[in-house]
Symmetry: C2
Subunit: 435 residues, 2 copies
């Protein structure tokens, strides 16, 4: 089932946290780490195709990092990171995987990229994506666990690059399910923070109510590190954490679209958590939550109408028809539908926060099932409602106990409980994803 080489204890197997610790101790150079990552890309990317562009100055940047005294080093000093090709980068083209942007070179970094670089990160390159992180052209990226399968989208390249150990961390985005679903398909940790807590400036806009910067790592520690740098290490409440977590679990409201492996991942999660003494209560979501996916689509396509209007006017048929679909409002939603969708979103946010008064976490499916064959991004039905609700979501792989493609579950917390979610995920990681 798996086509990549067995994991060897080489430098590409280090997590970001491990590599940074070794570099701080002087036991690893940035040059050695970047070299190992570039070698891995060279070996693997002919098949995986995670990357649209690689930095030509990464080794020079690494050498400058290695020459910097410890006292002047940032929190990501010398660490190679991948960036989805919808983030502006001043030193690499930003193509959005669109034929209209093949030669586009931004003048400045997206705000998040700028922040990571100011902490010493080395942007190793740009990763493939569904066109504009929205629709149109698929990424060419393969799932590193089985090249015939999709890694999921839209953050295809970032997910595959982290899963295949080309880089320890990579930036993604999520507007529907573009971070969480590829994480499930590729067997890595993916994190989408609460809405509006991280700058999206310099990231391609699709739907301004939903677009959220996310990221991938191979451990919860690694995604928590980036969360901390981006200011998400702030407590929502100061309750003393009980010895055991109060966990809700649900397969609904789209249960009939779940394949057996996703149901198995949920059952295994419940069993593993209960073995550790956590309380796991199977719940039904409020009935009105079933409509959230429909409201998500109304807002998505109407906000997309505004986002792609100028490209449709300027480029005509050279712009993929999917975007003309948005601009022309071919769904035919009315402005009253749009107002209703926004209001349902707001009421859903209030209802979900109330539901989560009784729980530390909710566990739900990350995807309908294993990564499908092909290169399509996959169905976002199990992700879009959470994106609409603006709540923090984290995919954690849940091995099924027998050889298979990866699958994960989504850990979800109340809005702005990002830090609590990451703390809980750190505790649950060895339980849900035993090595």
């Amino acid at each position: 089932m798996t086509s990549h080489a067995p994991i060897t204890p080489d430098l590409t197997a280090l997590t970001a946290t491990e590599a940074l610790s070794l570099m701080a101790q002087g036991r690893l150079t940035s040059r050695a780490l970047v070299t190992a990552c570039l070698d891995r890309v060279r070996q693997r990317d002919g098949e995986v195709r995670a990357w649209l562009a690689l930095s030509e100055t990464a080794l020079e940047q690494a050498d400058r990092c290695d020459a910097t005294p410890n006292a002047e080093r940032g929190r990501l000093h010398g660490l190679p990171i991948g960036v989805k090709d919808v983030f502006d980068t001043f030193d690499l083209p930003t193509t959005h995987n669109s034929p209209l942007y093949q030669s586009f070179q931004p003048a400045a970094d997206a705000a998040v990229v700028d922040l990571l670089r100011s902490e010493g990160a080395i942007i190793l390159g740009k990763t493939d994506t569904t066109e504009f992180a929205a629709a149109g052209q698929d990424a060419r990226t393969a799932n590193p666990h089985d090249l015939a399968h999709t890694p999921g989208g839209s953050s295809a390249g970032s997910a595959a690059a982290v899963a295949d150990r080309h880089v320890p961390l990579a930036l993604s985005t999520q507007t529907g399910g573009s971070t969480i679903r590829p994480a499930s398909f590729c067997g890595i940790v993916g994190f989408k923070p609460s809405v509006s807590r991280v700058s999206r400036e310099g990231v391609k806009v699709y739907a301004q109510s939903f677009d959220t910067v996310g990221w991938y790592g191979r451990s919860v520690d690694d995604v928590a590190l980036l969360a901390s740098i981006l200011g998400l290490d702030e407590a929502l409440h100061s309750t003393d954490r009980p010895g055991h977590l109060r966990i809700a679990i649900t397969s609904g409201p789209y249960r009939d679209r779940l394949a057996s492996e996703s149901l198995m991942a949920l059952d295994l999660s419940k069993a593993r958590l209960e073995t550790q003494g956590h309380s796991v209560q199977t719940i039904e979501l409020p009935a009105e939550f079933e409509a959230l996916d429909r409201h998500h689509r109304v807002i998505l396509h109407r906000e997309g109408q505004a986002s792609f209007r100028n490209l449709a006017r300027r480029h005509g048929a050279a712009l993929h028809d999917d975007f003309h679909h948005r601009v022309e409002n071919r769904d035919g939603s009315s402005l009253l539908d749009l107002a209703k969708a926004y209001d349902a979103m707001a009421m859903g946010r209030i209802a979900f926060d109330a539901l989560m008064q009784d729980f530390d976490l909710l566990i739900a499916p990350s995807a309908p099932g294993f990564a499908p064959l092909g290169r399509r991004p996959g169905d976002p039905v199990f992700n879009a409602s959470w994106t609409l609700l603006g709540v923090p979501c984290l995919n954690i792989p849940v091995p099924l106990g027998h050889p298979s493609l990866p699958i994960g579950v989504t850990l979800i917390a109340a809005r702005f409980a990002d830090q609590h979610l990451l703390d809980a995920a750190r505790r649950l990681e060895p339980v849900l994803n035993p090595k």
Copy 2:
């Protein structure tokens, strides 16, 4: 009281609609219009200081426009337009009036700028603004009606440029009151559309829930023209318009901060409208609306925290302290305050739409009073709640019947009733602002 020359029937006195009509008839060239605008800037801008940069190719662009056959012309063909210097432009620096961006040259246009150009507009230059359209450094622009007074901010330069007839139309933004208040201070029509209906891509981000592209003209027809190009000419409902409008009017909930001239503008508006047979009912806003300004500030500063984080990290003390204030959350709001503010915003939107079931329009103050002395942007308390509610707002000048600085009132409609608001404003313009 006024220091500028009396209005003469020169080309700079044409509205956009008039100029476009004359150009379509072959009675006016773009070159003649652009030349007249540039001459006016040359005469006046030493004192008014509306502009941070002027296009060096505007006349060449005008000549290309004049050589284009009618059939190939866009809806803004050959029309000079001003752009607030927080919009990216590929051919002019974008400084955000920040010392950190003095030499910044974007690689591409903001989406709205691109759309206007694709309709044939000529971007005449970039106008001064409060730093990042947020805080920090004030614009240097003077109020063209009295140079000792502020034109208001943050869209200072765009408002002054339109008021002083440097251009017929100019782009602005609004996050608190940055479009409507300067329109009142400068005696022009200012329009802020409903939230999320116009792309903000390529516009400096301050608060992602509020930032809205707006624009200025010297007639309702002109602002309606840009609204149509940006897709806002879509009806929210299909009610037959009655012969007379049902209008609500309010001075609250911050009545004690209104100077006499603002109260007079409201009273005069009521009297003039009733004379025309419209129903004008003085109303009190729901009690909970008084808290909206406070919620606005919580969201504004918390979203600003995310927006300025990278600049604070990279530039330290070279970044104005106002932005460190946001990044460090010196207001001390909690994440629970933030969630409450978002929920109050959502509930307020629902409550306002319900209130507007009985009215075609609400009229409210645009500013506490006349433009103050100096260069500060002014108090946004009469604008921020409407921005928070996401509703369309239009400032219309209301001459007080004796020589004075300008003042206006805000016409407000239900969320997404932009087209109804513009239609009503077109009808009421000769009543409220008789020439």
